[in-house]
Amino acid sequence: MPEAAALELDGVDIRYGSVTAVRELTLRVGRSEIVGLIGPNGAGKSTTLHAIMGLLPVHQGEIRLNGQPLRRRSAESIARAGIALVPEGRRIFGDFTVEENLRLGLAARRRAYMGDPLAPAFELFPILQEFRRRQAGVLSGGQQQQLAIGRALVSRPDILLLDEPSLGLAPLAVDGIFKAFTEIRELGTTILLIEQRAQRTVALANRTHVLVGGELRMTLGPGDAENTQKIIAAYLAT
């Protein structure tokens, strides 16, 4: 292999007490790739993202960022090492203004850049700049999702973890954020994307892994996007 993957999971087990939620998960996300992770509810997708972020302990195996193991590091230090999470349900701070929400993301920034520190968010989502003084709580669902993604981007992460970003959004808003993922990739940021919209994810991602019952079942390529039968079969496989 020529260089270390941007993000690597190597035989990772994650447990809640005595229950194993994710078993021997191995996957690799190369630089500037989009890798999808799909699967039924309770398959362990969010659990995996939380473990990468350091919010859950890894029971066994290893997670590596640019070849460096992340074991035992706190969530805030992992954020500062260049991984950003856009959590499920957006979880923006409704009482804060749009700008205040975005500025929170700067806490994980590794160095100062020239110009407006919020530029990475504003360039991708101009509406955030227009609404920067509004309370975040009054934004529409799609705008809040843009804000959540923008908050992650202002730290200029190497890797963006997205947990069901299209959940509960209107179809037009979904189109908007899927378009944004392509742009984010073009800017050189690596994406690990959890989604329920399986077909769209398979079409977009370089590879899409299907996680069922905490185990990796199948890996699909963009060519499989039209093969609905194969995707359904992957979900139902036991």
Binding site: G54, L55, E76, L85, D95, F96, G105, A107
Partner: protein, 338 residues
């Protein structure tokens, strides 16, 4: 960066209310003026507690430790040297032979409160929820007993008397304003926002890189410094003090003020401090007979029973306090439609 909306009322509302109380206090009779001054010092103490408990969302029963330390430091250091030799006989010679002025004593109280809070916070700020509440209670217990038993640093279990009574209307008002301004600047600062974010959603805060331990420690230290400062104001209001006056009852009263006003806003801290302090003054007067339409006297102890019941009622009926835990927003209804 332009100030976000509401910043003006967020500071001016509490500040004007405090100034109003100060001005009304000067027109009151000498016997009633004390109640107004007491209310203003309560504002300073409650705002100090708010800076940590309100903004971080972590319960602390220990902030009165810093008030106690500030009160005794400012008190011991301002008793005139010639009086000290008579009343504080076993105290360290360094403390016995020196006295400082009023303002330096308040600064000393703030500095000691801040340093003490920082040292205590280093290990304690890793805790949250119940564990934090109980551990900070332990700090109160330790501080109380050290102050009560160690006669090398203070009067011990006896009363510290002959402290100059310099907290008049002007100084009480200014003191409360200082506390409010510091709290406002902190909560509007970047660090304050990080801590508020960690209160609302710790997991998200950590995953955007917020070091919660560090942010809490900073708030605890600022809170400790303000509490020490407020303790200085308090001792200069009373003129004499015992360790019992800065212990359990004050802890309960000030937490009740914060809860009744609304835990999560500066406006709530100020409104709660003034409202409960006013009620407290009325009830303590009523315990020795008061004339409202007709004269009546409440049985001894009614005051605390009543205040405790009110605190419980507010928690049941309006858990976010009188202000709803929100800052004052005058044009709130207008902004909604824009």
């Amino acid at each position: 960066m332009r100030r976000p909306p509401g910043a003006v009322t967020e500071l001016l509302g509490p500040a004007l209310l405090v100034i109003l109380v100060g001005v009304v206090g000067t027109t009151a009779s000498a016997s009633n003026e004390g109640y107004f001054l007491n209310a203003l010092v309560s504002v300073a103490i409650v705002v100090a507690i708010y800076v940590f408990v309100g903004i971080s969302g972590v319960l602390s029963f220990g902030q009165i430790s810093f008030v106690a330390l500030g009160a005794f430091a400012a008190g011991v250091m301002t008793v005139p040297v010639e009086s000290k030799k008579g009343v504080l006989t076993s105290i360290f010679p360094l403390l016995r032979d020196h006295s400082i002025g009023n303002v330096p004593s308040l600064l000393l109280a703030a500095a000691l409160g801040g340093v003490f809070a920082f040292l205590v916070g280093l290990p304690l700020m890793r805790l949250s929820g119940l564990a934090a509440g109980i551990a900070t209670f332990a700090v109160l217990e330790i501080t109380h007993n050290v102050l009560r038993e160690w006669t090398k640093i203070g009067p011990g279990a006896t009363t510290l008397a002959l402290v100059p009574e310099t907290t008049g209307a002007l100084q009480a008002t200014l003191g409360a304003l200082v506390a409010i301004t510091v709290a406002f600047l902190y909560q509007r600062s970047r660090r304050g926002r990080l801590l508020r974010a960690s209160r609302e959603d710790p997991a998200v805060a950590r995953s955007v890189g917020v070091n919660i331990h560090l942010e809490r420690l900073l708030a605890f230290t600022v809170s400790g410094a303000l509490a020490g400062f407020a303790g200085g104001l308090y001792v200069h209001l009373l003129g004499s003090i015992t360790t019992e006056q800065v212990y359990l009852e004050l802890t309960f009263l000030t937490l009740a003020m914060l809860v009744v006003g609304g835990l999560t806003s500066l406006w709530g801290a100020v409104v709660g401090a003034l409202a409960v302090s006013g009620l407290d003054s009325f009830l303590s007067r009523a315990e020795s007979g008061v004339h409202v339409v007709f004269t009546f006297t409440l049985p001894q102890g009614t005051r605390l029973v009543f205040l405790a019941a009110i605190m419980a009622l507010v928690l049941i009926l309006r858990p976010s306090g009188l202000t709803g835990g929100r800052e004052l927003r005058l044009r709130w209804s207008l902004r909604r439609w824009r």
